[in-house]
Amino acid sequence: MMTRAPHVEGAPRSPLHLPALHESAWLHASGEAVYVDDLPTPPGTLVGYVVASPVARGRITRLEVAAARALPGVACVLTAADIPGINDISPFSHDEPLLAVDEVFCVGQSVAVIFADSAARCREAAKAVVLEIEALPAILTLDEAIARQSWIGQPHTMRRGDVAAAFAASPVQIEGEVRTGGQDHFYLESHCALAYPQEAGSYLVLSSTQHPSEVQAKCAEVLGIDRHRVTVETRRMGGGFGGKETQGAYFAAMAALGARATRKPCKIWLNRDQDMTQTGKRHPFMSRYRAGFAADGELRSFEVDIYADGGWSADLTTAILDRALFHLDNAYFIPNLRFTGRACRTHLVSNTAFRGFGGPQGMAVIEEAMNTAAERLGMDYAAIRARNYYGESPRDRTPYDQEVKAAHNRLRRITDQLLRDADYDARKADIDAFNAQSPLVKRGLGFQPVKFGISFTNSVLNQAGAFVLIYADGSVQLNHGGTEMGQGLNTKMLAICAHELGVRLDQIRHMPTATDKVPNTSATAASSGSDLNGMAVLAACQTLRERLAPVAAGLLKVEPGAALTFCDGQVFPEGEPARAVSFAQVATAAYLQQISLAATGFYRTPDIGYDHAAGRGKPFHYYAYGAALTEVEVNALTGEHRVTRVDILHDVGDSLVPTIDVGQVEGGYIQGLGWLTREELVWSPQGVLRTHSPDTYKIPAYGDAPRDFRVQLLQGAPQPDVVHGSKAVGEPPFMLALGVLAALRHAIGAWCPGQPVRLGVPATPEAVLRAVEDARARG
């Protein structure tokens, strides 16, 4: 186990594992932080506008752009015919043209792109584009897609035991259907890309993307050039949440196409309505399940058919479906099971990555079963969950046969500590007493454990690179392949770099992520950013420190190989800080001794892999754990409800930067709360999104965050084989919000004791009022 020596006041110290502000906090607050649309552009820079399909599915019978092209200020109007390379923007499935060819498959699909000297001129030109589409029948719901067997990819199945026999033998049998809705990412910064033509057929693309390497690859493919001619740079995003994992490639490739056609810098920035109507969202899911429980609440069998609405193209849908299947168990051992997942093709926007990546949708199914079973059995919502936790062998095997190492399974510890610290038993008794006396207002407490697998389930993606440069004055430039979208990755990488090199934070400049610094990177996604890039940064810094150590030894006049401490901009023989030389002196000396002061670092996650056909393997390096207790109040007259208190205990291992991790936990929970209680995508019968701006699409606002919001990180829980004992944190907390459903059901169930609550998601006031009226009618 890793331990930290107590810090001696005044002694040099590393920033690792200590609270810190966000590395850009002062730039954010002063308005000095720059996003792509903020960059000053050279005179003559053109702005782009996407001409999008107004119909959900149809055949393009006429597409004429000459009149639009001839309008004043219009530089070019590009269609599929103007693409010199490959007209495909999909991450791997080759089913997604950048610009439509012959057919359109959703409202908002890009058909042409206009570049002009102003957005107003673009809009005028768009009106002059002649686009005639013969409408064809469209599939606009999951049910219709299932009925018509409109699939993407192949089914994915996991099995264990004899599920039918176990169900038949179960005293409590539950059959049901669970639907979870889509969710718009609603990053505050909408998509934006700016492409500069450079000499010799090369391009510099500034993109708001989680995946610069894929943007690079897609731009190169679309332009028909080698990747080395495209440099993609990302300083920061104004939020990503998965929405900029693949979707940014569209607008970057269009901007690059414009730059090629006009030889001028070209920028595409989407306004909110364009962003919401043209880009993919969280996948809606529908699942049918049969669950068999023993009388004591033990889950004996679980059979699930789960369907994801992929929209019109595959994008990442099959991987998202995989992750949903990998999380149908959440934290619970299931002896007999069959899970089958199918991805459906509809004629709506192509759904994409969103924090949790199918995990929340999968967990929602088993949590529904748990809630229903608890209500049928009259069991406590927390007790039925704890009854089913993974444990010692043989109760330590996931549905896909990965071992949930009992030694690293912190869920019982987390549960015990959270329920104790949050005073669960007494509060629950108080609430039950309150509910007995209150006819029209009820309260509820919902407990939610989460186990979430960490790694890209496509194992090859689990690799990262870093590139660290030391200048002769001792200042450092830090590059790695991860991107900063607000999650604090760069803050953590700075802490690791400062720790490993032993420099002060102000000696390091964190560089924009750029494909000419670190090549072939994976998306910053799957919560893996700090795990993967942190290891790569660590490796690069260790290489450099090994080169510097003999130089420092020479300056310090100690034996080469003597133990040295690099810390806080000083280098000194271990235990003798008074003898320190500065890091800058060491760097200067290294330069004079002709020693390389730049190094790369690389990391790949060891020992993971998954056999898709067999439904077995070890897709995850480890699991993240957490639990939440959510308290709500429900009003029976309007269905309005409020989260009044939330207690969370989350396991981030030995936190790299605890303040950053707390921010991820809080933000993830509230985003999950939005998905489950507020955010509702409404489509017209023609497949037009009705809720395409914050006027109608309501993410959580200031007052939705509970006034009493108590977040703790599990202490003394370092994770082996992860950078400095830390754990991934980006996605897992999102699913803690599932507890709001148990809380609402606890409240609503007070109107129908002993009977299951029927509550739809998102649990908007209307959905809650329906559930309340249903409960009161039965109660």
């Binding site: 002062w26 954010h28 607050a29 002063s30 000095e32 607000g486 007259l637 209307e766 009022l769």
Partner: protein, 486 residues
């Protein structure tokens, strides 16, 4: 023709090129290179574009007020002072609002942060933040998708009301009354700011086709969302005598150009119905610009003020060169988005009678998908007057979101008149609402939901006013209707 004159970050601006439909946000970003102010939605629903304008507050003294620059047209700034995040301070020398956000980890991706800083900036100088809901109200116009708001709340609480003595405080203290007079035309668009009634009447006669605007928080959406050109706007916000809340014989006169925040400050406490409705009306930025007259003249079926005011027996004061006339507010709304205004006539204000002496039960309700910064699914202003025997002598049940106009529930009111004010009578009357309204289904709610909620609100009104005839809202109510709990 005039130039646009205003002060931007302490620097006098004389602008002669920007067309009058130009929003301040686009002007800042595109013409001034001030990109700290962000566009998140261009409709006043996210707050990323928030800036502060020096403008009289409810008490009449100049104050820095947070507004949405995406909805503010440049001519509306005539003679005024505006500051953006860049002027507050720098990363090296931050303003307390900026420092507080950074220190509390109030930013993650940072994109919403400048707007939040500007809302906290206003809060720094407010002296009336004497109740927790006021800070919620101050911040609820700023969406953040990253943090979950807890650190933003702590950042705001740390500096709200701290009244730093600095140049901003000095500029507010030294501000002189603003002359908004302007006639400005560029690029085929014209914008007029008359400042006297006489000038206004003359313009109305000369330009019957002109659109009138006050705060512009609704009208500007035609520019920012529908990309329309509004060729001729007459802004009434500079016209003398139309702004402010004044006590008059038998009640109050609410000037049409009074910002909603000022009405809230002046009357929210005295008239709980108004306080309740204004609590969850838009957000601080909207209420700092949006005016009562604008909210009524758009005549939206889901406007928030009409049901509340109708229930309070308010009257619309219609002004013209010929003088003033009054009509009951319910008669001001004649059809979907149509008012009783005649050509050459404006809404000068609203008369709200003093009802304190009556045995009156009154409250307002607003049900929406999200409590803060949302549009009503159903709203209601409900008031009943009882006689000494406890019988209903007057019932005014006004609903929004239930019909093409804000509308009273005639059948339900009739069912109550003369009845004892009992749960049975209320439940019977609630059933009659189905005869009064046939609401629509849309993305905000189904017809079933609207009808059910309307009935339930009437019952809730009865229950809520059993103890307190004219109840205020508590801090962070779970629901619009406050049912007594054990």
């Amino acid at each position: 023709m005039d130039e646009l004159r205003f002060t931007l970050n302490g620097q006098p601006i004389a602008e002669a090129e920007a067309p009058p439909n130009t929003t301040l946000l686009n002007y800042l970003r595109q013409r001034r290179g001030l990109t700290g102010t962000k566009e998140g939605c261009a409709e006043g629903d996210c707050g990323a574009c928030t800036v502060a304008v020096l403008d009289p507050d409810a008490a009449g003294g100049p104050a820095w007020r947070a507004v949405n620059s995406c909805l503010l047209l440049l001519p509306m700034l005539q003679g005024k002072q505006v500051v953006t995040v860049e002027a507050l301070g720098s990363s090296g020398e931050p303003h307390p609002a900026q420092a507080s956000m950074a220190k509390h980890l109030g930013s993650q991706c940072g994109y919403c942060t400048p707007g939040i800083v500007m809302s906290i900036f206003e809060a720094c100088y407010r002296r009336d933040l004497d109740a927790p809901w006021k800070l919620d109200d101050q911040l609820c116009g700023n969406l953040c998708r990253c943090t979950g708001y807890r650190p933003i709340r702590e950042a705001a609480e740390a500096v709200a009301g701290s009244c730093p003595v600095d140049r901003f405080q000095g500029e507010a203290a030294e501000a002189t009354p603003v002359d908004m007079a302007l006639a400005y035309a560029r690029g085929g668009q014209r914008h007029m700011n008359p400042t006297t009634p006489e000038a206004l009447w003359a313009l109305l006669e000369a330009h019957p086709e002109a659109r009138l605007v006050a705060g512009g928080t609704d009208l500007s959406l035609e520019i920012t969302k529908q990309f329309k050109t509004l060729p001729l706007l007459i802004s009434v916000e500079g016209v003398a005598g139309l702004r402010g809340v004044t006590a008059v014989e038998g009640g109050w006169r609410l000037g049409a150009t009074t910002p909603l925040a000022d009405i809230e400050a002046a009357l929210g406490e005295a008239i709980p119905t108004l306080g309740r409705m204004l609590r969850f009306f838009g957000a601080r930025q909207i209420k700092n610009r949006g005016t009562l007259g604008g909210n009524l003249c758009t005549a939206s079926p889901i406007g928030d003020m009409p049901p509340a005011l109708i229930s309070l027996r308010a009257e619309a004061i219609l002004g013209s060169r010929q003088g003033e006339r009054r009509v009951p507010l319910e008669d001001f709304f004649v059809a979907y988005r149509k008012t009783a205004l005649a050509p050459g006539e404006i809404l000068s204000g609203v008369f709200v009678p003093e009802l304190a002496g009556l045995n009156l039960r009154a409250a307002a309700y607003k049900v929406s998908k999200r409590q803060e910064l949302d549009i009503s699914t159903v709203s209601a202003g409900l008031a009943v007057e009882l006689d000494d025997a406890g019988r209903v002598v007057d019932a005014r049940l006004a609903f929004g979101g239930m019909a093409a106009t804000p509308k009273r529930a005639a059948s339900a009111e009739a069912a109550l008149l003369g009845q004892p004010w009992t749960r049975e009578a209320v439940e019977a009357a609630a059933q009659r609402l189905d005869a009064d309204f046939a609401p629509l289904s849309d993305h905000r709610g189904s017809a079933w939901y609207r009808a059910t909620v309307a009935r339930n609100l009437l019952l809730g009104f009865y229950l809520e006013t059993e103890r307190t005839p004219r109840p205020h809202l508590p801090y962070r109510p779970t629901a619009t209707v406050q049912i007594p709990t054990p």
